[in-house]
Every structure is written in structure tokens, then in C-alpha cells.
């Protein structure tokens, strides 16, 4: 049996012989538990022709195995009083369940089973094709999503971050069952996965349960890193989307830093100063308003925009720092864009006060504290850090790394980030202004 002890941080971490990383944290504040399986594969690992395959495979994981047939699978968690879902992103795909703690065993069995036994029946693939086309159509109904897709495609010429997670319509229309099944078999393997359990459980007992359920699965190979790193941008890029509507939008995006970059936390502080505080945790219920942020004051207070936002994403490879604004009725795209550039120019010139800097630190600390309240948000943090960084202690050390950031660091990264010749600007220009 795999031996492991619980660390001083209360977390048991070990790796099974087949390479599956296991993280378990006992927390006894409520009689609930959350189980996660993370795969280090996402749309970043896709090639033209099969863009969107990671997301579609995630859908197919709800279509059954011989042991858990489709007709019963989606009822099995609910029957036990739980909730479950899955998420696909650029860098990762994850599956999770939240249940009363005494019911958590069945979902460990289910996740182990669907790591290798999903059927991918051809008729289920065809039925899901139309569901995913419908999901994409729903996204296309949103003007901001349409513009965002174009900005990504412009900002990333080489790196696969250039396509959205759902993938290109033509690929969804033409991908085959074998494309999906091959992706599943290649990437859904223990050496490419992290299992996380958080909740009102006995860690050592559940390590045995996880080993019993997952230990026999062949190791497979980890997903290789992406080689096609984006070359430096040599000038501003601009893109326009025309479609029916009345309300223009603008997006301004700059190349940002990856999660392991030494300046990651300095950029996070900069993000909070510019756009307001937000959490990297997808399960977060913590939020705060952004009415004292630079962007709100410069664009909404001045009646140029009806709404603003933006910020960075925690990613394996360098992604974008993006800013968006909804143009207020009666105002022009050009003046809104100009106001955004004026704000980033000020930050790049070092115009940041000590008070703004300290406020950003306190906001981020508070959101982090709220995010540690539920088993699902803790499960997210641990799996996310282990999957992206390869070391969950990134989460343990989050506040220390944040507090180590200095005002000078923030000024320096602002100057490095906000360079006009590196940005991509997107305009949504509605065609019906009657």
C-alpha cells in the first residue's frame, strides 16, 4: 500500500505507483465532502481539425460505462443527495462531486470507472454533436463572446490559445467518434491526473479507498507541454465584429504572464488596482464591487461606459490581460478606447499610490479567506494548483507570495505589460443603430 502522512498544512499528498497524484484534506466544519479528478489537458493541447475535442470528451464522460450506464449515471449522484459537474478550460479538464460525506465512496468508484471504461457509443456521439452545436450557438448569441473569440484569434497566431474552449464550428461538425475516443484514451490516464478529496472524511482511510479504485489503471503518459509558444508581438492588432444590435463593446488585450512566472502576483495586484478584485477560483462565491477601481472611475463615473471589467487568467502558458467596456448610449467606441489607453498609460508611467496598492492587497486577502470556506472551493484550489503548477503548495503560499509583492514591482510590471505595440484591440460595431 502507498504510505503517506498528513503534512503540517493538514494535507495528505502522495503519488500512486501508476502516477496518479492524490491530495486529501480533512475538514470537519460540515458533514459534506467534495471529490475531484483533474486532467492536465484542455483546448491548449488541440490541433486544427479537432479544436473543441477536450470539451466534447468531457460531455461524453456523462454518457456511461458498462458499470454505470447513461440511463442511470446522471441519477446516481442526485440519488445520493449530491451535485456534480465538470469544466473544460484552456489548460485542464476537471470533474467534481459534492455530497454528504457518508455518501462520497460511490463517486470515487464512478470517477475511477470512467477514467478508462467510457463507451463513446456512436449514436451518443451524434446526439451530443447537436447539443454542443447548440451550446456554441448560445455563445454566439452573445456579442461579447463573439468579439472575444476574434480577439483571441488575433492575439495568438501560433499558440493554441488562439481558439476558444468549445472549438471552431467546422470542427464540431466534422470531428469523428475516433477523434474523441483517441483523445480520451491518450490523456485520461493516472500519470496525467490529480485526484482531490476535501471534507468530513478520514484521510488515511480514503487514501486506501482511492488506491483500491484507481491503483490498477495503467499509468499512461503525461500530456506533453505545448511547443508552439507565441512569438513576441511586433505591433498593435485590431479586429472588428459587425452584427445586429445597438450597443458597441471594446476589448483591449495585452500578453500577460503564466502562473509560474515570478511576476504573476505583481500582475494580480495590478489587475485589482485597474479592474477590481476577483478570485482565480472558479467555485468562488466571493465577490466585491469594482467601483473604486481605476477603470470604473475613468469610464463609468465619467459616463463613457455602462460597465467595465477585465483582468488576468491563471494559465500554464502566457495568456492575456484583457479589459472590456460596454459603450454607454450616446458615446463613441473611439473615445471609450482612448480612455482605456489613458488609464493603462498612467499605470505604465508609475502613477500608483501606496493607498491603492494596500487596498488591493487587503481585497485579495479577504477574497482568498472567503474562498477557503467550502469543500468545493478548497477542492478546486488544491487540484488547480497541483495541475497547473505541479505543486499544490502554490495555494498554501498564496498569501505569502502576495504579501511579498512591492509597489515597485507593480509599477515595473505595469510598464512591461502595457505597451501599445503589443496590444490587440477588438471593436463590436453594431449594424443597427436605429
Amino acid at each position: 500500500m502507498t504510505q503517506a502522512t498528513i503534512g503540517e498544512d493538514g494535507i495528505l499528498k502522495t503519488k500512486l505507483d501508476n502516477g496518479l497524484t492524490v491530495l486529501i484534506k480533512e475538514t470537519h466544519h460540515a458533514p459534506v465532502a467534495s471529490f475531484w479528478v483533474w486532467y492536465r489537458v484542455g483546448s491548449r493541447n488541440e490541433l486544427p481539425g479537432t479544436t473543441g475535442v477536450s470539451h466534447w470528451v468531457e460531455h461524453m464522460q456523462f454518457k456511461g460505462t458498462p458499470k454505470y450506464p447513461a440511463s442511470d449515471l446522471d441519477k446516481s449522484i442526485s440519488r445520493n443527495g449530491g451535485a456534480w459537474n465538470a469544466m473544460t478550460y484552456f489548460d485542464w479538464t476537471t470533474y467534481y462531486e459534492i455530497l454528504p460525506a457518508d455518501k462520497i465512496d460511490m463517486c470515487i468508484d464512478l470517477e475511477a470507472d470512467r477514467m478508462m471504461n467510457s463507451l463513446f457509443e456512436p449514436e451518443e456521439v451524434e446526439s451530443e454533436r447537436t447539443v454542443i452545436l447548440s451550446e456554441r450557438s448560445g455563445s454566439e448569441n452573445s456579442p461579447s463572446w463573439l468579439l472575444y473569440e476574434q480577439v483571441l484569434a488575433s492575439a495568438f497566431r501560433v499558440h493554441p490559445y488562439h481558439h476558444t474552449v468549445i472549438g471552431d464550428r467546422i470542427d464540431i461538425e466534422t470531428m469523428t467518434r475516433d477523434d474523441l475516443f483517441n483523445h480520451y484514451k491518450r490523456h485520461y490516464v493516472p500519470s496525467n491526473a490529480v485526484a482531490v478529496l476535501v471534507g468530513d472524511v478520514d484521510a488515511e482511510h480514503y487514501l486506501k479507498v482511492i488506491e483500491e479504485k484507481f491503483g490498477h489503471i495503467p499509468a499512461g503518459e503525461p500530456t506533453p507541454n505545448v511547443k508552439r509558444i507565441e512569438p513576441a508581438q511586433l505591433g498593435e492588432r485590431r479586429v472588428t465584429v459587425n452584427r445586429e444590435g445597438q450597443t458597441p463593446f471594446v476589448i483591449v488585450a495585452y500578453p500577460s504572464v503564466e502562473i509560474t512566472h515570478p511576476d504573476f502576483f505583481a500582475v494580480a495586484v495590478l489587475d485589482t488596482i485597474l479592474a477590481g478584485a476577483s478570485s482565480f477560483n472558479f467555485m468562488s462565491t466571493a465577490s466585491t464591487s469594482n467601483k473604486t477601481s481605476r477603470l470604473y472611475r475613468a469610464l463609468v463615473d465619467t459616463e463613457l461606459a455602462a460597465g467595465v471589467g477585465g483582468g488576468m487568467t491563471a494559465s500554464i502558458d502566457p495568456y492575456l490581460f484583457s479589459i472590456y467596456a460596454v459603450v454607454r448610449e450616446g458615446r463613441e467606441l473611439a473615445e471609450v478606447e482612448e480612455a482605456i489607453h489613458a488609464e493603462t498609460d498612467k499605470l505604465a508611467a508609475g502613477e500608483i499610490t501606496v493607498a491603492e496598492f494596500e487596498k488591493a492587497l487587503k481585497q485579495t486577502k479577504a477574497l482568498f479567506a472567503y474562498d477557503s470556506e467550502s469543500v468545493s472551493s478548497q477542492g478546486f484550489w488544491l487540484g488547480f494548483a497541483e495541475t497547473l503548477v505541479g505543486d499544490y503548495t502554490w495555494f498554501d503560499d498564496f498569501l505569502d507570495k502576495l504579501m511579498a509583492v512591492t509597489l515597485d514591482d507593480v509599477k515595473r510590471v505595469a510598464a512591461e505589460l502595457f505597451q501599445s505595440n503589443k496590444r490587440t484591440v477588438g471593436w463590436y460595431v453594431p449594424t443597427d443603430n436605429n
Partner: protein, 433 residues
């Protein structure tokens, strides 16, 4: 401060022994549940004034007012107020519904006094400055423009018009371009006079001793009086629909159509509410979106989403089904949904479905009580809907008592496959019947 004698037993369901409930002299009900296992404190509250008090030609007034109260008070300018909130990593919100003005905050425990002070200030002493009125009006008008091109929002809006003829729920509580244009500062000042302490609810959950929390509410809200406070409004019953009504709202340039169909549903305190809730779960929630998810999404692959919701509150909120489908599949999806409604009304659900949903409801209760936000929301609903402090303690027995016949009866009481409102928004031609 935490003490060894704290009443908090996190694995104990909140009930009369672990929730402190007091009524202040001015009529505010305060409920507190201590939880020293997390650093935050959540406040959730409501005053008994909402959109039902606004004139139809000023639709959106209550919503406009709730957006305005944080725009300046006798003690804080807009900037000062948000500097206090955001510099402490806290959040504060004010909103409005049909029956209530809701408010709340989340902060670290040490900032609870500040957050209650700010909430009292925005609700009791807003100055409603004219220049801020115009800022907020511009944002609201832009949002209404966006709504006009949003298929989901337009389907919902149109559904309400069809499902609630001659009823206040037919009117959008966000208002319309012309009504929001027409709202003046005098209208906002008049609406301010409808706010008062009588019947108000304030729930506090988190790392604070109950006695201290109640003292803080007394300090900040205890001297509030409003002799002119109107009686709490209550939405009238909605007449059951007698035929199918349908309206298609064309929105050019869209890839997908959104469907909303349904009927007026039960109020939250209706005797058959739990049975209707379980019928709704079987129809469009349980598993991945119940029978609707199975039929429309899983078997026919027609939609990314297809689910049903029961929205009963103080008023007869809608029991509605929503789906997003390709324009050419709208008819097939509507036929499938109608067939599922017919089955719910005419056929008993299976013993397996009953057992599954009994255990689903009981397990979901535990999940919903994990966080301070979850506990605060639950206690708030218990008070608002007069469910009793022992509601959670009786919950399992209440769920177990819901029978197959009660589910069918509740479905038949409200749903009707031959009489419902259907709204569709998406690409295509206008169509009304």
C-alpha cells in the same frame, strides 16, 4: 470573540436552540447563527417595499431606487462609501424584488459593525443626488438596449406578459426605455418614504456572538421609525391560464432561439408547495435536468439546456420551462416539452422517482447549509415565508410525507398541457397566437 461555550455546533441543523431570534421595538426581526469556523460574517436582509408599490408608468422605479441608495448618503459620498467597502475587501448590495427591498453584505468579522452602519445609512439616509440619478439612468438605458438583443431575456420578458394578463407580474421590474426615462428625483424621494423598519428582516451568520450582533443591529437600525410606512404589499392571485398563448419575438443576427413556457405557480407558503417542488424536480431538475433533460437533451440532442424552475415566493411566481435550441428545432422541442408536461399531469411518477427525489432533497439540504452564505439564505427564507424556526428540524419528515398522489395533484393543480404561455426569441419572423 470565540468562547468555549459558543452555541455553535456546525453539524447541528440550525433551529430554535442554535438560532437567536429577537424582534426589536420598531418591528425589525433579527436572526443570528454563530459560526466561528470561518472568518467571515454574512448579513442578509429585507424591507417590505418593492416593485408592487410603483406605478405602471414608472416601471423600474423600485429597481432604480435600490441602485441609487448607494450613490450618496447624509454621511458618505458615493466614492467614500465604496472606498470603505472595497478597501476592507467587503461587499455590500441593495436590490429590489416585487415585495421587498433586499440588502446584504459579506465581510471579515471585524468589519461587521462598519457594514451594518453602511447598510443602515444607505437604507435610511440616501441623498439621491441628481447628477448620480443621470449616471444611473444612462447605465440602465444601456442595459435595456442590451436586453432587447438578448434572446433569453426577451423570451422571459415576453413569457411574463403572456402568463400574467392583468397582473403586476406582467410588467418588467427593470422597467422599459420610456418608463425609466420618466423617473424623476421626486419619484425616488416618494419611493424612499415607503421604506421602514416594520416587518424588516436582518439575518447575520458567521464569526460573531449573537448578543453582540443584535446589539450592533440595535445601534444602527434600532432608532429607525417611519410612521408613514405603508402596509406590506402582496401580489394578487394569478388567474389560471385557459388556453395556449404563443408569441415569437424576432431578434436578427442570432444563432439560437430561446424558449420559455409555463404557467403561474404556487406561492412559497402554499400547502402543496413541497409536492409541486418535487414535481418540478422530476420534470426538470433531478439528475441532469430531470425528464426534460433526458428527453430534449439526452435522447433527441435538441438543446444544450432544457430545465424547469418553480419561482414561487410571496407571490404566485412562475412555474416555467426554459430551453435553448436551433431555430429549426423549436417546434419539436415545444412538442416534447408539452408531452412531458402531459405525462406529469396525467400519469403518476414512479416509486423509484419518488424515492430518488426524497433522498435528493434531503442531501441537498446539507449541501446548502455548508457555508455562511447558505445558512443566511436559508434562515432568511424561513423568516420571510413564515416557515418557523423548527423548519429544518422537521424537513426530513415533511419531505418523506410527499406522496406520488400529492405530486400528481400538485402538477395537475398548476400545469396544463393544453393551457400555457409560450414565448420564443431568436432569428425568424414575428408570430403571435
Amino acid at each position: 470573540m470565540a468562547t468555549a461555550t459558543s452555541s455553535t455546533q456546525p453539524h447541528t441543523l440550525p433551529g430554535p436552540e442554535t438560532v437567536t431570534r429577537v424582534e426589536l421595538e420598531n418591528g425589525i426581526i433579527v436572526l443570528v447563527r454563530e459560526n466561528f469556523m470561518s472568518p467571515s460574517v454574512v448579513v442578509e436582509g429585507a424591507l417590505r417595499s418593492g416593485a408592487l408599490l410603483e406605478p405602471t408608468e414608472k416601471a423600474g422605479l423600485a429597481s432604480f431606487h435600490s441602485s441609487m441608495v448607494t450613490r450618496g448618503t447624509e454621511n458618505y459620498t458615493f466614492d467614500e462609501l465604496y472606498e470603505e467597502i472595497e478597501s476592507n475587501g467587503a461587499s455590500l448590495s441593495v436590490g429590489s424584488g416585487r415585495h421587498t427591498t433586499t440588502f446584504g453584505s459579506k465581510s471579515l468579522a471585524e468589519d461587521l459593525k462598519l457594514m451594518l452602519t453602511l447598510q443602515a445609512d444607505v437604507l435610511r439616509r440616501p441623498t439621491l443626488p441628481q447628477e448620480q440619478i443621470e449616471k444611473v439612468r444612462g447605465q440602465k438605458l444601456t442595459n435595456l438596449q442590451l436586453r432587447a438583443y438578448n434572446t433569453r431575456a426577451m423570451a422571459s420578458l415576453t413569457f411574463a406578459e403572456l402568463a400574467y394578463p392583468n397582473h403586476p407580474f406582467a410588467t418588467s421590474s427593470s422597467g422599459y426605455m420610456e418608463t425609466v426615462q420618466a423617473i424623476s428625483r421626486d419619484d425616488l424621494l416618494a419611493h424612499q418614504k415607503t421604506l421602514g423598519p416594520r416587518g424588516a428582516i436582518i439575518v447575520i451568520v458567521g464569526a460573531v456572538q449573537a448578543e453582540h450582533a443584535i446589539d450592533l443591529v440595535r445601534e444602527t437600525f434600532g432608532d429607525w421609525t417611519n410612521p408613514d410606512q405603508p402596509d406590506a404589499p402582496l401580489a394578487p392571485d394569478a388567474a389560471p391560464l385557459t388556453e395556449k398563448t404563443k408569441k415569437m419575438v424576432p431578434i436578427p443576427g442570432k444563432s439560437q432561439s430561446d424558449i420559455v413556457m409555463g404557467v403561474p405557480g404556487p406561492r412559497r407558503n402554499a400547502p402543496d408547495y413541497q409536492a409541486a417542488r418535487m414535481a418540478n424536480s422530476i420534470l426538470g431538475v433531478f439528475g441532469l435536468m430531470g425528464r426534460l433533460g433526458d428527453s430534449v437533451r439526452e435522447q433527441q440532442g435538441l438543446a444544450y439546456y432544457s430545465y424547469s424552475r418553480l419561482n414561487g415566493g410571496l407571490g404566485p411566481g412562475a412555474w416555467s420551462i426554459s430551453a435553448g435550441v436551433a431555430p429549426e428545432n423549436v417546434e419539436q422541442a415545444v412538442d416534447s416539452i408539452e408531452a412531458e408536461i402531459r405525462s406529469m399531469v396525467e400519469q403518476p411518477v414512479s416509486a423509484e422517482e419518488l424515492a430518488d427525489n426524497h433522498s435528493f432533497f434531503k442531501g441537498q439540504l446539507q449541501l446548502g447549509l455548508e457555508t455562511n452564505d447558505g445558512v443566511a439564505g436559508t434562515l432568511f427564507n424561513m423568516e420571510l415565508y413564515d416557515l418557523g424556526l423548527d423548519y429544518l428540524l422537521n424537513y426530513e419528515a415533511m419531505i418523506d410525507a410527499v406522496s406520488i398522489e400529492a405530486i400528481r395533484a400538485a402538477a395537475a393543480q398548476y400545469l396544463n398541457p393544453d393551457a400555457y404561455a409560450l414565448a420564443i426569441a431568436g432569428p425568424g419572423q414575428a408570430d403571435e397566437s
